[in-house]
Amino acid sequence: MLNLINKLAGRSPWIYRINAGSCNGCDVEMATAALIPRYDVERLGCKYCGSPRHADVVLISGPLTLRVRDKVLRVYDEIPHPKVTVAVGVCPVSGGCFRDGYSVGANIDHYIPLDVIVPGCPPRPQAIIEGVLKAVGVWRARLEEGLCSHS
């Protein structure tokens, strides 16, 4: 029974996106990938949620500016376990163009573990979908671990 639920769960990744100070590019592409018919992630069971509490997969973009940092971390904490983080674009990983700015903190990895990285500036929607699928793989593995430890 648990196994079945575990198998099914991977087919319903709900997505929440966090903008940690990005330049819009990745955000617009995430919205495009998530909402428009041409890419239709709903056929993969994805749903875009308005509340972090409903989410399974978190898409993060942007270099994590100082001012948004605490808010991002707070929202991240509101996401129930198990959750998977996907870095969209290169900014969350290395800061991209904005590295070395006085208002840009260190890379997000310091605060939030990045499970999957989708490089690009911005990555095309297909790449984001690819990233979400990879994240589902990570999530499945995590669920299995979780369920094993429960039983």
Binding site: R67, G101, P122, R124
Partner: protein, 366 residues
């Protein structure tokens, strides 16, 4: 009465991470029932200190850096920056490059306007229309990917001209995309103009009268929808615009609906502009040879981005990094106008009104 007030009004935080906002922005909205009584704004979530970064990067790196100010108007920034550098170092770009720059600008404008209008439909809960508008926008996204190689950041402008030439094959591809786009754009305009729900939700809200528009010096479609017919492409023409024929759109109603329609009309004009460019473009080089030396001095350049006037000020001390690079984006000017537009509106309309200035926060906060 005061006690009644304190119980009735409460603060509704919008943001900084809110689905209705494409970007982090924080409002504290004083709400009484469903009516907005006051708006307090906290900015700076996307402040990446880009002006300081620009002073650390050399002139060539700054082309890429300015492109990342914002991805929705990502062509206007490097183009205007390059204009500033060219003005300072006395470069004249090749004729063909002027046309290529116009094409890149207008392609971005169409995509940006369609995105904004689509988001407006999304905010009224009209998701089917949103998806339809975004599908129409995909035609332009494909064009960008096919011509320039990326869906958002074109990477077309460099100091001294353009990087990628449009050859016969690409021009044919671009023409094909435009042919596809035109009927769809007209149809979309009809829907946004006549749909009863869109009209009910967007007409008469977010009003910005002409006098206020002038006082707050708003720019771009927001100003033009309120009756200030200012378009940099006409008032201080650059690139190939003096040789091209287009109409500056304007309106006098100054509400959310008229701004959306104005954007769609501008998109139609942009299609015409691209077609003219493809027709008139002279042959020749697309970029000047070599890397320019930037002398000591200062220069100003501006252009009309999708959201309005983009302004660049460059000051050079003769080294290979700018002494000061300052830019001002349209949203920076339009943001304060929200105070006027949001006064006494409904909670349900906040997102619509904010979206109607096509806010670009990453531009504004840099």
């Amino acid at each position: 009465m005061t006690t009644a007030n304190t119980t009735n009004t409460y603060t509704l935080p919008v943001g900084p991470l809110h689905v209705a906002l494409e970007e982090p922005m924080y409002f504290d909205i004083q709400v009484e029932g469903e009516t907005v009584r006051g708006v307090q704004l906290t900015a700076g979530h996307v402040h990446r200190g880009m002006e300081a970064l620009a002073m650390q990067r050399n002139y060539l790196q700054n082309v890429t850096l300015t492109e990342r100010v914002c991805s929705l108007c990502s062509n206007s920034h490097p183009a205007t920056y390059c204009m500033a550098v060219e003005a300072l170092s006395g470069l004249t770009i090749p004729e063909r490059a002027k046309y290529l720059r116009v094409i890149a600008d207008e392609v971005k404008r169409i995509a940006s306007h369609l995105f904004n209008v689509g988001i407006m439909a999304h905010l009224t809960g009209f998701d089917s229309l949103f998806m339809h508008a975004m599908e129409v926008r995909e035609i332009m996204q494909d064009a960008k990917e096919g011509v320039y190689g990326n869906r958002m950041n074109l990477g077309q402008c460099v100091i001294g001209g353009c990087r990628r030439d449009i050859d016969e094959e690409t021009a044919a591809f671009l023409r094909g995309q435009l042919e596809q786009l035109k009927p769809q754009l007209d149809e979309l305009y009809g829907v946004f103009e006549r749909d009863p729900l869109i009209r009910k939700r967007t007409r008469g809200i977010g009003l910005l009268p002409l006098a206020e528009a002038k006082r707050l010096a708003v720019v771009g479609p927001v100003a033009r929808a309120s009756g200030v017919a200012y378009d940099v492409r006409r008032k201080a023409p650059y690139a190939a615009y003096p040789e091209l024929d287009f109409e500056v759109q304007s309106d006098t109603k100054g509400d959310v609906h008229s701004r959306a329609l104005l954007r769609l009309r501008e998109a139609v004009e942009s299609v015409k502009l691209i077609e003219q460019c493809l027709r008139k473009m002279p042959s020749g080089p697309v970029c000047t040879e070599g890397m320019p030396a930037v002398p000591r001095g200062e220069s100003v350049a501006r252009s009309e981005a999708p959201r309005g006037e983009v302004f660049y000020y460059l000051r050079s001390d003769g080294t290979d990094t700018p002494q000061r690079l300052k830019w001002r984006v349209p949203t920076y000017m339009n943001w304060e106008a929200l105070q006027v537009m949001l006064a006494n509106c409904q909670v349900a309309d906040i997102a619509l009104i904010v979206n109607s200035i096509d806010p670009c926060i990453s531009c504004t906060e840099r």
